[in-house]
């Protein structure tokens, strides 16, 4: 079978006509759609402070972690990246949490309050 024959078969496909009620059915569905209230969008503006705070916290934690790991490696020249580094990192993280847990709680509370207060202020400004 050649391309020409295939072209002939497909190009000669008979056209089908939609049923007489097709337009009415579609318009009924469209009117129904028009009456449906639009979905409430995610409040990105209100979420921005929270997202920024999370990002900042994550970056700070990573910076502190890597700074300390680097200091550990520098203090022991020739030390390779092996399980002992992971172990020391875990110990460091545990120690960090133990020593500065109160500070983290405070930061957490401040961030939470800011996340609540800032969107409320924005909403008040809108109304």
């Amino acid at each position: 079978m050649t391309d020409r024959e295939l072209d002939h078969i497909f190009a000669g496909e008979p056209e089908i006509q939609p049923s007489s009620a097709f337009v009415q059915t579609v318009m009924k569905a469209v009117y129904r759609e028009a009456q449906t209230p639009p979905p409430i969008g995610f409040p990105w503006l209100c979420a921005i402070p929270g997202i920024l705070a999370c990002g900042f916290t994550l970056v700070s934690a990573l910076a502190v972690f890597f700074h300390d790991s680097h200091a550990t490696i520098a203090a022991a020249p020739g030390m390779r990246l092996d399980l002992s580094i992971v172990k020391s990192a875990v110990q460091f993280a545990g120690g960090l949490l133990g020593h500065i847990e109160v500070l983290w709680i405070c930061i957490g509370l401040v961030v939470t309050l800011a996340c609540i207060a800032f969107p409320l202020r924005l909403l008040r400004g809108r109304s």
């Binding site: 079978m1 939609p18 097709f22 337009v23 469209v30």
Partner: protein, 188 residues
């Protein structure tokens, strides 16, 4: 079909005159139902799919950037909908081997090609092709062999479409050749 009419109706719909969408439906119902039919080979299902595509078009009308023709946007949207509906409904899927052999019976290949029933079998065989070849062949012939329109509807480059057409036709031909070989064995 006038693109000005579509543009005017779309603007009115966007300004809140929902009834103006009827003009769009009337103008595009036949092409959309026919395109859907080529994807599913079932008239009832084709109407359902076309209806869903039109409702989707109504919902997505604000996203139509008017730098593209309304028809291009509508066909791309409908094609996407038909393809995902096809993926989501595996009952439509037909195995290439389950399609009746295309050159069977007691006639030679030329006679078979002239036979309308056999032609319908060739068309149905396209549905059983792997999705990317099926879509390429379906859109190419739907757009009256216009590579540029078909590639726009599929959202792929013209070169990619041409490659898929080539491979799709080759697959169809191999299916037909198997049928012819079987016929010769039966005659011998």
């Amino acid at each position: 079909m006038s693109s000005h009419e579509d543009e005017a109706d779309a603007k009115r719909v966007l300004s809140g005159e929902v009834s103006c969408f009827e003009g769009i439906v009337r103008r595009w119902q036949t092409p959309l139902v026919n395109l859907a039919y080529r994807f599913c080979r079932d008239r009832g299902r084709a109407e359902e799919l076309a209806q869903e595509a039109l409702v989707k078009a109504y919902r997505g009308l604000p996203s139509w950037r008017q730098e593209a023709a309304f028809s291009t946007w509508l066909f791309a949207l409908a094609t996407n909908h038909y393809r995902s509906a096809h993926r989501a409904a595996p009952s439509w899927l037909v195995s290439l081997d389950s399609v009746p052999e295309l050159a069977g019976g007691d006639r030679n290949t030329d006679d078979v090609l002239q036979d309308r029933g056999r032609q319908e079998e060739v068309r149905a065989a396209v549905v059983a092709l792997p999705a990317k070849y099926r879509d390429a062949l379906t859109l190419y012939y739907f757009h009256e062999m216009d590579v540029s329109s078909a590639s726009r509807s599929l959202g792929i480059a013209e070169g990619t479409l041409k490659a898929r057409l080539l491979r799709g036709r080759r697959l169809l031909r191999s299916k037909m050749a198997r049928g012819t070989a079987r016929l010769r064995v039966e005659e011998a």
